[in-house]
């Protein structure tokens, strides 16, 4: 869908801004909201660009820089922390040679830290796009990342 169509689907009232931003980001293959879209949105919704950017940047789920096809979000909140979230984070960093906030050279993965994902029953936990992975340890991490890389190579 184009930005215009997305706005039409939800209606151009201010209340719908977050929903519209979600849709714009979801349909971008690089998982982010690009500058052109914000300008277009500003015209369609009659909201200044600065307002849109100011609002969107408040929320951690929105990104303004291109991200990988798979966004890895590792929970860093206390319940996951005491069960080893730090180890998980470091394992991913070294396996993919990226630091928090960075994207792998092949554009496949972006690594992010996040606040509680609401799946603390299986701490330490992470999400890759919409998928939840819990009870993590280093071995599991290598397996999960390996499976995705395998799938993408085909």
């Amino acid at each position: 869908m184009t930005t215009k169509e997305i706005v039409k689907k939800h209606g151009n009232k201010r209340e719908n801004l977050l929903q519209i931003l979600h849709d714009i980001q979801n349909q971008n293959p690089a998982n982010y909201i690009c500058k052109e879209d914000i300008y277009e949105l500003s015209k369609e919704m009659k909201i200044p660009v600065s307002e849109i950017k100011g609002t969107a940047s408040f929320y951690t789920m929105f990104s303004f820089t291109p991200r990988g096809k798979y966004v890895i979000r590792v929970c860093e909140s206390p319940p996951c922390h005491i069960l080893g979230a730090q180890t998980i984070f470091e394992a991913i960093e070294s396996e993919l040679s990226v630091k928090a906030g960075e994207t792998t050279d092949d554009g496949l993965f972006t690594l992010e830290g996040t606040s509680c994902l609401g799946v603390c029953g299986v701490a330490p936990a992470m999400m890759i796009n919409d998928e939840v992975y819990g009870n993590l340890n280093e071995e599991k991490i290598y397996k999960i990342l390996g499976q995705i890389q395998e799938k993408e190579r085909k």
Binding site: L17, L18, I82
Partner: protein
């Protein structure tokens, strides 16, 4: 039988409305619409003693009566399903396990206060909850249990879903309203309270998922039945999430007033490793409780007497391997990240306390670090604009109170503050 909120979870297929109806589902809504006036319902909910389960513990019947007497229209109902408090996922499991129960409670509330439109503000990560609620709304509309002319009466009730975008403070009800209006999720000044001026400046009633899930059984079985559970001051049950170093982490629903010791050893199977050192009750904004308090009954009043709070119902159990300085560093990192930035004590204070705990963890803290932390925490408690900043004081002050000795070991008595000069000014500011 202790279950009220979770009685259907795991027993019925949450995606099949017939199974919910088979378990007396939507009967309470029918009774409310056909046999009771809004005044009757407010009386029942007030008599039941139900208090909100979103953390603040406000009496639900009273809240509804405010929204009911508000003059402006239309009125709105919001179900707060943002659930950002670390360690909390009870609302997710309620929505996944019994979505119709939540919708039924919302519809009864709508009839009571005179609202025809409701929103569920749900965090973006909860895909399955969103799916199940979306389906539940559709199914209920098909059977005339939501939508137009419910039960053949002239009461209309529509429920829509709004998806959040990753912000803890948006769980605070006025920040949530701003977020729903497509603005930055910064808290609003109260008063006016949402009951008077909420979503789009119209009267709005905000309740937590678990609060709504308690409504249908209360209407069906009456206030006296509900009061048989829990304690005199806080009737009913509470859904807790137990986490950390226990054998069986997860979700339980127990009567109000049972102790931490019972929760750990009777419900969670005991410690998974090591010895009990401390618990954090109520999520990251909750107090740190030492082993000396294992037998205090968990309910709003007893805890308040000790200056503690029950909060969201998350209970994090920790053994002796967890260092208090490291743990608090992690808590403070969370707050520093989630502070909305509207007021400086919270925006900068959380950051300063974070840095201080980090230094304590490295055993390289300033000689007066503990005093500085206490001052900042006291100031947050007194002057922060919203409850998020105020609540930062809970973990910090309770940690100082019960684990002050351990923290003091991180102090380097020889480390004095350098006076800020033109040369080191930037270094001082450049905290990362």
């Amino acid at each position: 039988m202790n279950r009220i909120v979770l009685e259907n979870c795991g027993k019925i297929n949450p995606e099949d409305i017939e199974e919910y109806i088979g378990a007396d589902g939507y009967e309470a809504l029918g009774i409310a619409l056909e046999k009771k006036t809004p005044e009757d319902i407010i009386k029942i909910v007030k008599d039941s003693g139900l208090v909100g389960r979103g953390g603040a513990g406000f009496p639900t019947g009273l809240k509804w009566s405010f929204a009911k007497s508000a003059k402006k229209s239309p009125k709105y109902i919001i179900c707060n399903a943002d659930e950002g408090e670390p360690g909390t996922f009870k609302d997710r499991l309620i929505m996944e396990g019994d979505p119709h129960r939540v919708l039924e409670g919302m519809a009864i509330c709508g009839y009571t206060i005179g609202a025809n439109t409701a929103y569920i503000y749900i965090r973006g990560e909860y895909r399955l909850s969103i799916q199940r609620l979306t389906k539940a709304i559709k199914d209920a509309e098909k059977l005339g249990l939501l939508g137009k002319n419910i039960f053949g009466t002239n009461f209309d009730f529509n429920v829509k879903i709004k998806i959040g975008a990753g912000s803890y403070v948006c769980g605070e009800e006025t920040a949530l309203l701003n977020s729903m209006e497509g603005l930055r999720g910064e808290p609003r000044l109260k008063p006016p309270f949402p009951a008077e001026s909420g979503f789009l400046s119209k009267p709005t009633n905000v309740n937590n998922v678990e609060t709504f899930a308690n409504i249908a059984p209360i209407i069906l079985n009456g206030a006296d039945w509900f009061r048989k559970f829990g304690t005199e001051s806080t009737p009913g049950t509470k859904v807790y999430t137990i986490l950390g170093h226990v054998k069986r982490p997860g979700l339980i629903e127990v009567p109000m007033g049972i102790s931490l010791r019972e929760i750990i050893y009777d419900y969670a199977g005991g410690m998974s490793s090591g010895k009990f050192k401390m618990a954090q009750v109520g999520g990251t904004a909750g107090d740190i409780i030492p082993s000396a308090l294992l037998d205090v009954p968990l309910e709003y009043q007893s805890l308040q007497k000790l200056g503690h709070n029950l909060g969201s119902g998350a209970i994090l159990i920790m053994n002796e391997t967890v260092s208090i300085a490291d743990f608090l560093t992690c808590c403070m990192k969370f707050f520093a990240h989630e502070s909305c930035g509207k007021c400086s004590i919270c925006r900068i204070g959380t950051r300063q306390i974070y840095e201080a705990f980090k230094r304590l963890g490295k055993k390289d803290a300033y000689f007066d670090e503990l005093k500085t932390i206490k001052e900042l925490a006291d100031e947050l408690k007194l002057t922060a604009f919203c409850p998020m900043g105020q609540s930062v004081a809970s973990p910090v002050l309770s940690a100082l109170k019960y684990f002050g000795k351990e923290l003091a070991q991180g102090v380097n008595p020889d480390k004095k503050h350098e006076p800020v000069t033109r040369e080191n000014h930037n270094i001082v500011l450049n905290y990362s």
